[in-house]
């Protein structure tokens, strides 16, 4: 099928099977590699992107749901030169170890803070627990979120 949607502000049209997940459309069709595959079944969160402003698991969003959608990936959130406050906080806190989960962690955190600029510890736990980090960077993720809250408040 033909699907037409916006990715990081650019209109994209792809011709793909209708049940092809957004994750693989981004990676193998469009060539945006910042969004990662970890499990394919909504268990790890490595594939998290924003769809119309909401954090979603891109491995669960199919081509037929995409027409007209606005997608933001980690590449569209910020860049090395112009970082999003959440990315700045992640860098200052030196969260990443292998880093493979961090695109998804950052996208999840950015969406949480956009909807709720001052989440409680319990709210952070609830929102962030779908994102697996095999390297165990959770203490620094918590720290970075606190720092991002400060930055965004400032």
């Amino acid at each position: 099928m033909q699907a037409s949607f916006t990715v990081n502000g650019t209109v994209r049209s792809v011709d793909v099977p209708e049940d092809m997940p957004l994750l693989w459309i981004l990676r193998d069709e469009i060539g945006l590699m910042g969004t990662k595959y970890g499990c394919g079944i909504a268990q790890c969160g490595a594939c998290t992107v924003h769809l119309d402003g909401m954090a979603v698991r891109s491995c669960q969003v199919r081509a037929y749901e995409l027409d007209g959608a606005e997608i933001t990936t980690i590449e569209g959130l910020g860049t090395p030169e112009a970082q999003h406050p959440v990315q700045e906080a992640w860098i200052e806190t030196q969260v990443a170890q292998c880093g493979y989960c961090q695109s998804g962690q950052i996208m999840q955190a950015a969406s949480m803070l956009a909807n709720n600029p001052n989440p409680s510890d319990d709210e952070i736990d609830a929102v962030m627990s779908g994102n697996l980090c095999r390297c165990g960077t959770y203490p620094r993720i918590r720290e970075a979120i606190r720092l991002a809250i400060q930055k965004q408040g400032a």
């Binding site: 736990d125 960077t137 959770y138």
Partner: protein, 747 residues
């Protein structure tokens, strides 16, 4: 990279050499760490130089050969060079280099000698040097594992930086006609007394012409500018902006995408398959048989995985007992003389020692590595060369494997090592690479990226080896008097080495590592015996290898015996510990948490555990509360002695991550077999820790250890016993089997 590839081993016959437009620095033969007669007959340059610094007219390139799987060694290696070179990290390019014996890992063999790593005596050190020499001569390993990257790199990379600096100064002195004493180096340049700066790049051609200065003195840590202080990891911005390409992100023109479906009964054959449905799918390019299974090549990874799922296969039998129970039965029957792997330690007389007995049996299951980046490799087989893009920890063996399958000479196999999205040991294995090579052979001329689905990864992991422990602890008058520890396990080293074509020359030390070298030198009676099983599932090194199961067995038995004696868990461990560096570690963790006994009142408790692994003593205290819905992890304290801290921030991150890794898997992870297949297929069934469960982890690093040590693995082993000991302190329930959630709930 193009330029580096032309630097063959032969180019590095001296401490520096001219390269296109510049100079490459290494280390002289005289700087080799030992003079071993075995080395006299080595081919020229085979083990004696280490090309790490390359300077040409445009730029400075540092080679960081150790694979980075998240432990931060890419940054750390470069930092060691720039510390001596007087340049900043953002002024250099860093490359993984090409696989070469020159980058062999000199520290991997430290654990291969029969001396505990806290023994720095003459005999033990001599044996380590000898083992290093023999292995270098026979089998130089360029590899990353065993928490060895730091000890391997520490001296030689700083020396490489210092040699380059002094040689550049000598070149500047000649060029400017100024005595060397009047020169100083800073910010990537040699500065003349009149304030003129000669950049290193401008001096590169001249430096290539002169005899390198190899008589250098390394700076004392008190003078360090960069090392020992928090540094911004060079990959941190890329890893926080989605711009760091991992192996799985490799892109190249005309590339196709593949996946595999191999017999989930590991080692079994493919009897037949029906790919009719798969071949009819849009985007499927080809389906063909490979060793043990089939491969699908398609227009994208998703289609390849869908098509693989649509293929029906008839599989042959596994090479091990099909049902999990039989694995435990086999281990429990392995505590016999003919299975004795080693009597690794025997002091005093455990049988005759006085005291009441604690008798216990422990189980540590198979556990998956499951790094978040799925296993993958992109391979292009062309007419006269093969290019491989993958992240691997044993780069030279990887090249050999691909050379063998493709029939291309190993010199024409070019491995481009990639950043790694986690390994935990799985990227020491070769199956995925061999499968990718078989696929690329069939698809000759087309680059093919082979990616495992997560389900294939779980089905085809070589998990952590299964282990059973039996112990007797004795106590009298409130003191522990004896520990008799017996450990039976599926031999991880036998299994792993068989897949690279070697047989294990002697006992498998991983079956008692972390138990035999537990330095409780004040305990008068200790015996540690290990028993070897080889007929169970194929297994592989899992972060901290034997020290994880063995540390759990040893330290839990110790804890049980201390409790039976009525002694304090921390104080009695300190009393038994004859090793000063370790005593300090235990005392430190006690101070950090304000230790005041294990019992914190109703439903709350603390457990302490200690394990010595990879030369690092680590003590961990876990505090838990029993809630209505289960055990909650409240807080954790960790103290460790790594000898020398290179980057305190990264070290803390590794301490937190390694501890949570150890705790998470102890809570809820195991691989079990039924009908010969792993029953866990994805993270929902093998979850480890999630953020809501992660306690605060406090960390203190000590530097009393006489040698620098790596820290990727040592935080892992004490986590599980500390948690088990804490659960006992809070609830009175002693759980002797991992994972703990088989017996208790967690919130």
């Amino acid at each position: 990279m193009g330029k580096l590839r032309t630097l063959t081993r032969r180019t590095f016959l001296v401490g520096s050499t001219a390269v296109a437009g510049g100079v490459a620095f290494g280390i002289y033969r005289a700087k080799a760490p030992f003079e071993n007669p075995n080395l006299a007959g080595l081919p020229e340059g085979a083990a004696s130089f280490n090309p790490w610094v390359i300077i040409d007219a445009e730029k400075i390139t540092l080679i960081a050969p150790h694979a980075d799987k998240g432990q931060g060694v890419f940054s750390a290696q470069a930092a060691m060079i720039v510390e001596e070179l007087d340049i900043e990290l953002d002024q250099v390019e860093i490359s993984f280099g090409t696989p070469d014996k020159a980058y062999m890992n000199g520290a991997l063999t430290d654990a291969m000698v029969p001396f505990p790593q806290y023994d720095y005596g003459k005999v033990a050190e001599g044996a380590r040097r000898f083992a290093g020499g023999v292995v270098r001569a026979a089998l130089p390993i360029m590899g990353t594992g065993g928490s060895s990257a730091m000890p391997d790199s520490y001296d030689k990379l700083r020396e490489a930086g210092a040699v380059a600096r002094e040689t550049l100064k000598a070149a500047a002195s000649q060029q400017a006609g100024v005595p060397i004493e009047g020169l100083r180096t800073e910010n990537g340049a040699v500065w003349l007394p009149d304030g003129t700066a000669l950049t290193y790049t401008s001096l590169s051609a001249a430096a290539a012409q002169i005899e390198p200065v190899t008589n250098v003195t390394l700076r004392d840590p008190s003078q360090w500018r960069i090392l020992g202080k928090p540094m911004e990891r060079v990959d941190i911005v890329a890893k926080s902006t989605g711009t760091l390409p991992y192996g799985v992100d490799h892109k190249t023109d005309g590339m196709l995408f593949a996946t595999v479906k191999v017999n989930p009964r590991q080692g079994g054959v493919l009897i037949s398959h029906d790919a009719t449905a798969a071949l009819a799918m849009e985007g499927v390019v080809d389906v063909f048989e490979i060793t043990g299974g089939i491969s699908v090549v398609a227009n994208n990874t998703w289609t390849a995985i869908q098509a693989a799922n649509a293929i029906t296969c008839e599989w042959g039998e596994a090479t091990y007992p099909p049902e999990q129970d039989a694995h435990w039965t086999a281990l429990s029957a392995s505590f016999t003389d003919d299975r004795l792997n080693a009597e690794a330690r025997n002091v005093g007389d455990v049988d005759a020692a006085p005291g009441a007995e604690v008798i216990a049996e422990y189980r540590s299951p198979y556990v998956a590595h499951a790094p978040l980046e799925p296993l993958n490799a992109t391979i292009l087989v062309s007419d006269d060369r093969v290019d491989v893009w993958t992240g691997h920890q044993l780069q030279m063996f990887a090249v050999d494997m691909v050379a063998k399958i493709t029939g291309v000479d190993r010199d024409n196999v070019h491995l481009h090592n990639q950043f790694i999205g986690g390994s935990f040991g799985h990227r020491l294995e070769f199956d995925y690479l061999k499968q990718a090579a078989e696929i690329a052979m069939k698809m000759r001329g087309t680059p093919v990226k082979m990616t495992y689905s997560r389900e294939e990864d779980f089905a085809h992991d070589f998990p952590r080896h299964i282990t059973m422990g039996r112990g007797i602890g004795k106590h009298e008058n409130g003191k522990v008097t004896a520990l008799d520890v017996q450990i039976a396990g599926q031999s991880v080293m036998t299994s792993q080495m068989s897949r690279i074509g070697f047989s294990l020359p002697g006992p498998d030390t991983q079956l008692h590592e972390g138990a035999w070298d537990y330095p409780n030198l004040n305990l008068p009676n200790i015996r540690v015996r290990s028993y070897k099983e080889t007929g169970l599932a194929p297994v592989s090194s899992w972060r901290s290898v034997g020290a994880a199961p063995n540390g759990f067995i040893y330290d839990t038995l110790l804890d049980e015996t201390i409790h039976a004696a009525g002694a304090d868990p921390l104080m009695e461990r300190i009393r038994l510990m004859g090793h000063d560096v370790s005593v300090k570690v235990l005392e430190t963790v006690g101070e950090m948490c304000g230790w005041n006994g294990h019992d914190l009142g109703a439903g709350r408790g603390r457990g302490v555990a200690y394990v010595f692994s990879f030369g690092v003593p680590v003590a961990t205290v876990v505090e838990v509360t029993q809630t209505e819905r289960g055990i909650r992890l409240d807080e954790v304290w960790v103290a460790a002695d790594v000898g020398q801290v290179i980057d305190p921030v990264n070290l803390e991150n590794l301490a937190q991550g390694g501890t949570l890794f150890g705790l998470g898997h102890a809570m809820n992870c195991e691989i079990t077999y039924s009908d010969g297949m792993a029953q866990q297929s994805n993270y929902h069934a093998h979850e480890s820790m999630r953020l809501y469960q992660a306690p605060k982890v406090n960390f203190t690093a000590l530097e009393n250890n006489p040698k620098i040590k790596g820290f990727g693995e040592p935080p892992v082993p004490p986590a599980a016993p500390a948690l088990g000991n804490a659960i006992f302190a809070a609830t009175g329930q002693r759980i002797r089997e991992l994972p703990f959630n088989k017996h208790i709930d967690f919130v």
